[in-house]
Symmetry: C2
Subunit: 282 residues, 2 copies
């Protein structure tokens, strides 16, 4: 997805939120915004928003001298989510259609996104709300067909803590089909996106092979991706891509990708052909 | 009021809205945002937001080569508002406390603000909503005292079309007290702020002396104001200041100013000590 002009004010909002998350020093917060401003005129409108996101979060790390600003927040939500795992797993197992319930839970997990807002998230409540919601776009038949024909499944993660809900879906897939799942995370911390550390904490390595895409931005960047990831990406017959950042960076690729996300901003909703707040399997 | 960091993303939103109002050319819209980005690092956090607003709207005018981008919109809403004048004037006259009703109507008129959003405004409906609303801060007793002691009243306008609702209040003041009112507008067009042209169209010159403050930005800038305005400003014993832009540029002045506005953003609400959406006479 290209960068729309509406994304530009949002870059500054994101930069400010990330700076405030990291430091109380108002001069440094302002410096972050000034550095983003200096990058902006060099930024091509044909680039995807996470390309700018990558620059923004590099600036935040440099100015605030913090390599992982969201670490505490990630630890907190990882723990909360992991505590909820047994009950959600049980619920998916007992559902009429465990695959469908697993997809819903994985989508629900996509609410744990501190790129949109750093307000407190009541995970159980928010998850229940999403479980009650109908998908605005739901290519479930095609998804099941792709799942049947795929030998292995490449699953590209979005946020930490969300991993726990991905794990419900991955376990259902593995238990039902016996297929191998490769679970892909970011190389370096950016916002609250999942890294290897988060994936291991949430225990998804018990049912999937965990690899890094090589990304240090809030998306999946093929031009700078790791060879191992690219090999899987180019041969996969089913790719599950979670969240907005992966949608923004991969929506132009001609690969069998199913995007699973909640559309949290109106620009992405418009690009997807749905409304803000909708959940989508496309 | 100083510029808070939250104002910075909003500068880009405002610039984009103004650019889109003026041109359909996406390259020019992007150019506006890039030029704002170049100005940002030079902008002192001690300056008021309308100081940046002045730069933003100069950029919009330069890049789009339009001297008055909001002209059509202003003409449209001036006409609608003027058509409503007789009924609102009549209602104020018949009210138990015409001065109070005049103040409410003048505040209600402050909704006609295209700096906040360029969405369509249903004036009669919005006005009725505000008329039903209670003031969150209402220094009415002090206001009446200042009105009694003042020889002449300096009334600093905000938006075009809003002038019609100011006229209700000004006519009530003039009819009840016989005092002279000096009505102050911007020198040059910026957003939909009122200029001499708007003031004359809305007929406020029939009951007040209309002058320009010399401003070409969305506020009142004392450092570059016209001498005539400054003379009134420095001797006035009652100054009525309408809207956010005048609040932002004049809130630090030690003069008998009553700020009459709807707090349309959370930053200003926090600075005023009220909530977003509240109406205030302070």
């Amino acid at each position: 997805m290209k960068t729309y002009l509406e994304c530009i004010p949002c870059f500054f909002r994101q930069g400010l939120e990330a700076a405030r998350m990291t430091t109380k020093d108002e001069e440094k917060q302002r410096k972050v915004l000034d550095e983003i401003a200096k990058e902006l005129p060099k930024f091509s409108p044909e680039s995807t928003p996470p390309e700018m996101g990558k620059k923004i979060h590099r600036i935040v790390r440099q100015v605030t001298e913090s390599s992982d600003p969201y670490r505490k927040l990630k630890d907190k939500y990882n723990k909360i989510a992991l505590g909820l795992f047994p009950q959600f797993k049980e619920r998916a197992k007992k559902a009429n259609d465990p695959l469908l319930m697993g997809i819903k839970m994985a989508t629900a997990g996509n609410i744990i996104d501190f790129g949109i807002s750093t307000n407190h998230i009541d995970i159980p409540e928010e998850i229940e709300n999403i479980l009650k919601q109908d998908f605005a776009i739901f290519n479930y038949t095609q998804f099941k067909k792709a799942l049947d024909s795929a030998g292995e499944i490449l699953y590209i993660a979005d946020n930490s803590a969300e991993v726990v809900f991905d794990r419900v879906l991955v376990e259902v897939i593995v238990e039902e089909s016996g297929k191998k799942v490769i679970y892909v995370v970011r190389e370096k911390p950016v916002i609250n996106d999942a890294t290897i550390k988060d994936a291991l904490f949430c225990g998804i390595d018990k049912v999937a092979k965990v690899i890094s895409s090589g990304s240090d931005g809030p998306g999946t960047f093929l031009s700078s991706a790791r060879d191992e990831f690219l090999a899987y990406f180019n041969r996969a017959r089913l790719i599950i891509s979670k969240g907005q950042g992966n949608y923004e960076t991969l929506s132009g690729e001609d690969r069998p990708i199913f995007f699973l996300l909640k559309a949290k901003c109106s620009v992405i909703a418009r690009d997807l052909g749905c409304k803000k707040g909708d959940i989508v399997l496309k």
